[in-house]
Every structure is written in C-alpha cells, then in structure tokens.
C-alpha cells in the first residue's frame, strides 16, 4: 500500500517535471506580456515533428533529432510571436489570444497535411531502468527529471545573475519604466518568447522520447497540460509553474492508479476546478490575489 503510494508519487514527480517545463514556458510568456499564447503547445508539436522527420526519413541520431525538435519549436514560436503578439502589440490582449488560437489551427493543419498518418515513431531517449528496493524508475523518466531540474536551475541563474535576466524581470514588472532606463522592451519580449519556445522544445523532445511516438494532437495535449499546471501553480509565477507541474503529475499518477486510467484526466480537471473556485490565485500567487481582493474592496 505504502509502496504503491510512494511509487505513484515518484512517477507523478517524474512525469510532472515535464509538465513543469511546459508551464514555465507559458509563464515566461504570460509573465512578460500579460497575454496568453494558445499556440504554445502546437509550436512545440511542430518541433517534435521536425525531429520525427529527421528520424523517419534520414535515420538521424538522438542529438540531431533533439536539435531539430528544439529548432522547430523555436522557429514556430518566433513565428507565433511575430504574427500574434508583435503585430498586434497595441491591440487588446484578447486579440493576441484569439489570433494565437487561429495559428494553433493553422499549425495543426500544416502538420496533418504533411504527416497524414495518425502517429509517427520518435526515437527513445534511454532504455534502462533502476530498481531501488521495491521501486521502479524508468531511465527516460529519470533523464526527464534531471533535464527539468537542470533547466530550472539554469533559468534561475539566467533570471537573477545576468543582465538579460534583469532586463526581462524589469520588463515584466513595468515595461514603461524599463523602456525609460534604456531597455529595448521589444527585443526582450522577443527573446523571452524564443526562450520559452526553447524550453517547450526540450519538454516536447523529452515527452515524445518517453512516449516513443508523436501525433498532431500533441499540441492540444501540451497546451492543456501547460495551462493546467500554470493555473494550479499561479499564473505568472515560475516557482508556481514548477510546483503546479509536479502537482498535476502526482494527481494524474495517483488517480490513474487508484481510480483507473480513464479517470486520470477527469481528476486533473476536477482539481483544477476546485483550485479555480477555492484558490483562484494558485499555489504561489494566493497572497497577491488576496492582497488585490482587499485592495479592490477598499476601492
């Protein structure tokens, strides 16, 4: 009983680490732009299909597939930024969100036309496993967790130890003030988008390698997982994105085991609903939300 619980929690943490990466990407974009990018998942999907193309057509190795996935996701992300965000930067946030939905459909259609089959193979990352005591840990899950942890640390260093990080934080706090100290806010937003897409590309590669297959609906899946994890953790908070992703992974692992796999997604949505009702700010933004609510009451 205890062993099952611990095993499920471990599985949840490992899978949840990839959700955390997806949520970090969403959060970076939302944090600096205050706009939601619904095309985030589909641009990652396009990257994974670039990797698949190399693997299927040219029997490329792991590194080439990883590089193609990353490059594809970044290129698609930059395209989304130019079309949905930069082009209508002075328009309402809703306009960007709706146009990112349109680009989502466009990317999905492109992939469906170019890759007409339902699923395509993706090369596995690691085919070893560890068995510490009564537990079982898949090698690719371990690599997934290690990569997610490394990216989180590197992102923290980037944000708090570099001038780009300082500029990015300044733009996310107050774009007008940042512009007046000489920061090129447009360039920072563009770079943040590319960075988020790169992180998404890594997440996409790790997930596709663990599943060893890819479908055009991966974009929808990635958008849902990333959005749910970001909302659970608290929109705009990087620590929240990490916690939200891990929490989502753990919820899915436990509900899949105790209730059955058919209830796995349903349980995640139920927890999301409960959060939206009882803790709308998420795990890490609750204090801020309470403060805003109090301020609103004072007004």
């Amino acid at each position: 009983m205890i062993v099952d619980f611990v095993q499920n929690t471990l599985d949840g943490i490992f899978v949840g680490s990839s959700y955390s990466l997806l949520a970090i990407g969403f959060t970076l974009i939302f944090g600096v732009m205050r706009r939601l990018n619904l095309s985030y998942g589909p641009s990652i999907m396009l990257g994974t299909f670039a990797g698949t193309l190399l693997f299927v057509e040219f029997e490329a190795g792991l590194l080439a597939v990883a590089a193609a996935t990353l490059a594809g996701a970044v290129l698609a992300g930059v395209y989304v930024e130019r079309v949905c965000f930069w082009a209508i930067r002075r328009g309402a946030a809703l306009a960007s969100m709706v146009s990112s939905f349109a680009i989502w459909m466009q990317l999905e259609e492109i992939v469906t036309v170019v890759f007409p089959d339902r699923t395509y193979p993706f090369p596995p990352l690691a085919d070893f496993a560890l068995e510490p005591g009564p537990f079982f840990v898949r090698g690719d899950h371990l690599v997934m967790f290690a990569c997610a942890a490394a990216i989180t640390v590197l992102l923290h260093l980037l944000l708090y130890r570099t001038r780009f990080g300082l500029a990015l934080r300044a733009v996310s706090r107050n774009p007008a003030a940042a512009a007046f100290v000489g920061i090129n806010t447009g360039l920072v937003l563009f770079s943040a988008f590319a960075l988020a897409s790169a992180i998404g590309g890594v997440a996409g590669y790790l997930i596709a390698a663990a599943d060893q297959q890819i479908t055009p609906f991966f974009g929808l899946w990635a958008t849902f997982k990333g959005l749910i994890a970001m909302t659970l953790g608290g929109m705009g908070s990087i620590p929240g994105a990490i916690a939200g992703g891990l929490l989502l992974g753990i919820i899915e692992a436990h509900s899949g085991w105790y209730l059955g796999t058919e209830y796995r997604d349903l349980s995640a949505y139920a927890v999301l609903f409960a959060f939206l009702v009882f803790r709308p700010g998420g795990l890490f933004a609750q204090r801020q939300t309470l403060r805003s609510q109090l301020a609103a009451r004072r007004v």
Binding site: R163, R173, A176
Partner: protein, 242 residues
Amino acid sequence: MLEVERVSRSFGGVAALTDVSLEVGAGEVVGLIGPNGSGKSTLLNVITGISPAERGVVRFDGRDVTSLRPDRTAALGLTRTFQTPRVLHRMTVLENLSAALFAGSPKVRRLRKADRERLNGLLEECGLGRRVDELASKLTLPEQRRLELVRTLVSDPKLILLDEPAGGMTPAETEGMARLIAEVAARGRTCIVIEHKIDMISSLCERICVLDFGRVIADGTTREVLEDEAVLDAYLGRRDIA
C-alpha cells in the same frame, strides 16, 4: 541641446499641444509650468517618444528624435521621471539602478565592484544608502521619487525631464527634493522641471516656460515670467483673486 519646433499633438479631437516650440541650451534648468491639463506632461511624452508628435519636430543634440522609441531616446542621454514614480516595484533598490546601468552601458556585462560602489555612492547622496537591498515597493513616495531621479543619473544623461518631482510632498520633503535637483543641476546637467510649487521652481530655474491650453503663452527669465500679465491671469489666478 533640445529643440522642439512647432509640435502639435491631439487626443480624440482635443488639441493637447498646438504649435509648441521650445529651445533648451546645455546646462540650463528650465521650469515648465501651467494649469492642470495645459499639456506639460504631454510635451514631455512627445519629447521622450511615449506619444510621438503628429506635427512638428523634436531635435536632441542636433538629431531628429521625433519618432524614436523611449529606450532609444534614453540611450541618447534623454531621461525622465514621472508624476507617479515608475520604479520597478518588485525589484530591489540596487536592481532598479543596475537595470539602468546595464541598459545604458552595453559593455557592462556584470555588476563589478566599481559599479556597485558607484551606485552605492549615488544612493548615499540621495539618502537611500541604507535601503539598497530593500524592495522598491517598500519605499515611501518621496523615497521612490528620489530613487527615480537617481536612476536617471546612472546612465550619465545629458538632459533630465522631471515631471512634478515634489508632487504630494510635505514642505520639508519638497525642500529636500529641490536640494537634490539643485545638486544634479550644479554638475552641469540640463533639466526641464514641471512643478506646481512656484517657490521651488523660482529657486531652481533661471528660466520658465508657461503652457496654457496646449500653447506657449510665456517664455523668459523667472522674474519676467512671474510678472507677466498673461501668466498671472492664466496660471497664478490673479483674475480669480480680483
């Protein structure tokens, strides 16, 4: 140093500025006064590229900056403060200054000891030396105004535009801010100061420009302007008193 030539700007059919011209020479400290809604802040927004002019030209150091973005004007050495201080609230006082240092000096890759000492020195001078690691959101309004002013100095600007730097301050705080601006000006920096506190303006500025309904109605030495009939009528309220 700054030439504003027949600049006009309107919002939804309401003329905020009409054919405004203003020249400011190097080292001058010019007061910009006028009733609320006279176009003072709009003029600063036009000069700094927040709200580009519809007609007219703005030149800074001989270069046309009419349609430059705020970060480009800042990079050229033209910085400003705001009526409501725009400090980076969830960042520390030092980070607020570091952001300006990094943006202003592309060669500065990391905060070296000498840079930190310089920033600490600036903070000491404006009385924020002990609050270097505090979040800017924890500063009081006068402290935030001082931080915003000292942040403009980090990139070694040529022209500083100050939008109501003593707004909402007590007389003692106003005096402190006036002293700080005087010290900045004494180092040869060119300043344009918007302020409703005439005592402060007259003590700081040798020259005053007056706006009313988006037009320049007076421009001259402080003494001339404060004795000008049109200014007394439009701004200082003599007509109302009478």
